[in-house]
Symmetry: C2
Subunit: 243 residues, 2 copies
């Protein structure tokens, strides 16, 4: 039985990868991935065969990985962040139904919520949720409902894919929904280029976030009712009782 490693490489920088992820990439013959991610790891794993497919060709990329594994090669499929958070591991199981002779081994990694959270301070100490604003595969009504209910639940919220060329006003729409339940003074933060060149962060209020433009390399954090700014960092306390 051959094995495919589905590897979360973390935010981008080599040292933010787990030791297990680096070992898997060193042990494999072929590394398959989206072009941008291959470029991030390439220099650290010389002598490997690299295979890429462009964005939106995810099913092709999975089939490619399985076909290489069938030839007897050890294959690693890489994803940025964690392979299981808006990543490829789910689709790999779906496509894998046609390849019962190939076993999948999922290697977790640091997703943008954790990587960006560390840059901002400690925004996710208590209950939180991740919501993607991309309506490519999810109806916008579903996203709206989640934003409203998560805000009503006083969860801290991390927004993935907050913007794109076609969706330049989505963050503003999302803020307007969250403002129905969260105070305009709610402490928020954003992190650009987590763990990559140009990493930067900003702490602001939800009211200010509403009027901020972000790009697709930004991860957005909205605090809960207890989140505070401490020494310029975004910090959510562990509890609601004063102990």
């Amino acid at each position: 039985m051959s094995t495919i490693y589905v590897v979360g490489i973390g935010p981008g920088a080599y040292e933010k990868m787990t030791i297990e992820a680096a070992e898997a990439l060193r042990s494999c013959d072929v590394i398959v991935g989206y072009t941008v991610y291959i470029d991030l790891v390439k220099d650290h794993f010389p002598g490997k065969e690299f295979m890429t497919t462009p964005m939106r060709k995810e099913v092709d990329r999975c089939v490619l990985a399985f076909e290489e594994a069938k030839k007897g090669k050890i294959v690693a499929m890489i994803c940025s962040g964690d392979a299981g958070v808006y990543g490829m591991s789910g689709l790999m199981y779906e496509v894998g139904v046609n390849y019962p002779e190939v076993e999948l081994k999922i290697i977790p990694g640091v997703t943008a919520a954790m990587g960006g959270g560390a840059v901002l301070g400690a925004p996710l100490i208590h209950d939180f949720c991740l919501i993607s604003l991309s309506d490519l595969l999810t109806p916008w009504e579903k996203i709206e409902k989640r934003l409203l209910l998560a805000s009503e639940a006083d969860l801290s919220i991390v927004l993935y894919n907050p913007s794109s060329k076609k969706r330049h006003d989505y963050l503003q729409k999302a803020c307007d929904l969250m403002l129905q339940h969260k105070s305009p003074e709610t402490v928020c933060g954003l992190v650009e280029n987590i763990g990559r060149e140009g990493e930067a962060y900003k702490v602001m209020t939800l009211k200010e976030l509403r009027d901020t433009e972000v790009d697709m390399f930004t991860t957005v954090f909205i605090g809960n009712s207890q989140t505070r700014e401490i020494s310029g960092k975004m910090v959510t306390p562990r509890g609601y009782k004063n102990v």
Copy 2:
């Protein structure tokens, strides 16, 4: 200015730590942490000074770390999983207000949602939330509200601290709340001892989960309406549209 590294060591096994986390622990003089976590890393970092405080002495542990840093030592404070997810980084910022000469550097890690998710398959591919069932620092009414709203939002849900000696029926209570909005056939999973000896997982329905006893070393995953069991694994698809 002295620095304290606040380090998420991941689920437990050395190789599930990031390269950056291992480097920080190698570069420091003192490693501070809860006894159980110190035992997990001890053998991999010989020659370090280890300092522990028991559970519930978190503030003391933070003060200890800052006092050691003030002496000019390089200090690492370790947390299991990610330092920013129910971890110590928040409290470190709060206590740190009294130590303006000490800088904090947060090093993210693989939290149980990611580590356990990789064991179960791909349960968290789409929007999800983390909710802790511990009512030590959070009123139970707040936890109830979050469980209800997150279920209504059709989020996948990861439960941290699903049980303890005093709270043996909390998972059952949580399932009853989630069953108000989620189907009894919702695909769920649990993982024991993620990344440690005795690691085990089980996939089941929400109805079955309701009548399952878990211990405090278990992380519980509840799927969204699209989550399926594929080849014995728990898999949530990327989207809601059939593309």
